[in-house]
């Protein structure tokens, strides 16, 4: 057998059994929790310019189960922290984001896309309104340089000197605390009652004296919080969370969890050649106002698109993988963008693009798994919705 010596094979779209590269390259960035991950036995892999844990010794299945049934903790410090400030900050964000900043109240957060002039997705992001004139925006790790360059271009072009940007990625840490137990646990760990906070809002508190900015957000499909802390406090906060029983989880579990929840991953479901409408993310694109690519996106919304993202399931555990072909009566009609065995649903799941036709849920297509042709059933997304808890 040929093993996944390249960490890229864990995460990147095309599984290549012949591509070998060192597990960790020296020019990658390390988070403030790097030594903690190594001590915990985390398997470190390069991802988005950072060395990150893909899993810990108990493995991806155990980590996924912890998040679905109890709670897990993830170091997501590889993701960016950009502060956008100034009297024109709102106007600027209204221009560069598909979601509205001006209608976002202070204290709330919103998910949306950053598109280029052709409607292609430069990145997806959650942004938090901190004050009237100040926002925090979280880009993906690998896209941070592209987002910064794009934003700076438009600040210089249209919004200088009323808007400025500050990159706090390397001076802070971001820790995701996810799972059904987190509302109870967070109130035992943080000095403020955060469990009453609404989804997509934020509040501040402290953990053992360390200031914490907490958003009720996440990327797992579970209830939970994302905690922004100063870099020097990262180990203290991480340890407080794991001491409460939260299971350390890596990028492998994060990818399975987000896929079960039907959430897109940049570089897979979305990229600069894909629009939010094609990706089924039209609900995160506002229908009013002028912003980058707004006319094009509105015409796609009301008209038609060449390809459309679909979700599908197949029985068993042999997984669809990025790059595999979807077929209709032998004819290739699309490509898988992400897929996995879903431990929560005990079936295999995938997402992919289908060209030039409307595919209704329930439609049977074929999937080419390395030459084995197996039927798959198109289904509504998400695959998994967390049970309502009272």
């Amino acid at each position: 057998m040929i093993l996944p010596a390249s960490a890229h094979t864990w995460i990147l779209p095309l599984w290549s059994v012949t591509h070998y590269s060192p597990m960790v390259t020296s020019d990658n960035l390390r988070t403030n929790l790097y030594d903690t991950h190594v001590t915990l036995g985390g398997r470190m892999v390069p991802f988005g310019g950072w060395d990150m844990p893909v899993q810990y010794p108990d493995g991806i299945l155990a980590e996924v189960k912890a998040v679905r049934t109890a709670c897990g903790v993830f170091d997501v410090s590889h993701m960016g922290r950009l502060y956008i400030s100034g009297p024109k900050a709102t106007e600027f964000l209204d221009w560069v984001l598909t979601g509205s900043a001006s209608t976002l109240r202070v204290g709330r957060a919103r998910y949306c896309l950053i598109c280029n002039e052709k409607g292609g997705v430069i990145d997806d992001t959650i942004f938090y309104r901190l004050t009237e004139d100040r926002y925090l925006l979280i880009p993906n790790a690998g896209n941070r340089p592209a987002v910064i360059a794009w934003f700076q271009h438009w600040i210089d072009e249209k919004f200088f000197p009323g808007c400025s940007m500050e990159d706090a990625t390397t001076t802070t840490s971001l820790i995701a605390f996810q799972g059904p137990y987190t509302p109870v646990l967070i109130d035992q760990i943080v000095d403020q009652p955060l469990s009453t906070m609404r989804p997509f809002s934020w509040a501040e508190g402290a953990i053992q004296g360390a200031p914490v900015f907490a958003g009720r957000t996440g990327y797992t499909g579970e209830d939970g919080f994302e905690l922004l802390v100063q870099g020097r406090d990262a180990v203290k906060v991480w340890t407080a969370l794991t001491d409460s029983g939260a299971v350390p989880c890596g990028l492998g579990a994060r990818d399975v969890l987000r896929l079960e929840a039907g959430l897109p991953l940049h570089g897979h479901e979305i990229d600069e050649a894909t629009t939010p409408i094609e990706a089924g993310l039209g609900r995160f694109v506002r229908t009013e106002g002028d912003f980058i690519s707004s006319q094009l996106l509105e015409s796609q919304r009301t008209g038609s698109v060449l390809r459309k993202l679909v979700g599908f399931t197949l029985p068993g555990r042999s997984a669809p993988r990025a790059g595999y072909n979807l077929l209709d009566h032998g004819e290739p009609i699309g490509t898988v963008t992400s897929g996995s065995y879903s431990p929560t649903l005990d079936t295999s799941i995938g997402m992919g693009y289908v060209l030039g036709r409307d595919i209704e849920p329930g439609t049977i297509l074929d999937l080419d798994i390395r030459g084995r042709i197996v039927p798959v059933t198109v289904t509504d997304l998400p695959f998994y919705t967390r049970p309502r808890r009272t």
Binding site: M1, L3, P4, A5, W10, V17, G59, V256, Y341, R372
Partner: protein, 130 residues
Amino acid sequence: MSSPDDRRYTQEHEWVMIDATAANTAVAGITDYAQDQLGDIVYFELPKVGDDVAHLGKMGEVESVKAVSDLFSPIDGVVTEINEKLLDHPELVNEDPFGEGWLIKATMADATTLDRLMSAADYDAFIAGL
């Protein structure tokens, strides 16, 4: 941990040993290093009883949550048995790769094939250098 020295190894991380319970038969699996690198195994595609397998020829596939790899046969031979338990419990290979998690048994066309494979000491040195 060091690999058991009662068997032989390939550079593709399969092991093979003489099966004490049947004449001229070998039993084969993947190594502890292999299962550790793959992570949680969820699926095996194995040859059928009666299939020919060829030394270092593809004989199946293994999938973990995040990876898929080809399985290569350590020997020339004909498959006499596959480990049926793996169909429902592929995690046996994570738990006990050198024992309960064996993959196939096969009659050997030429038992001297084993001499061309690595000893445990050589394999352990090989993976230490990866």
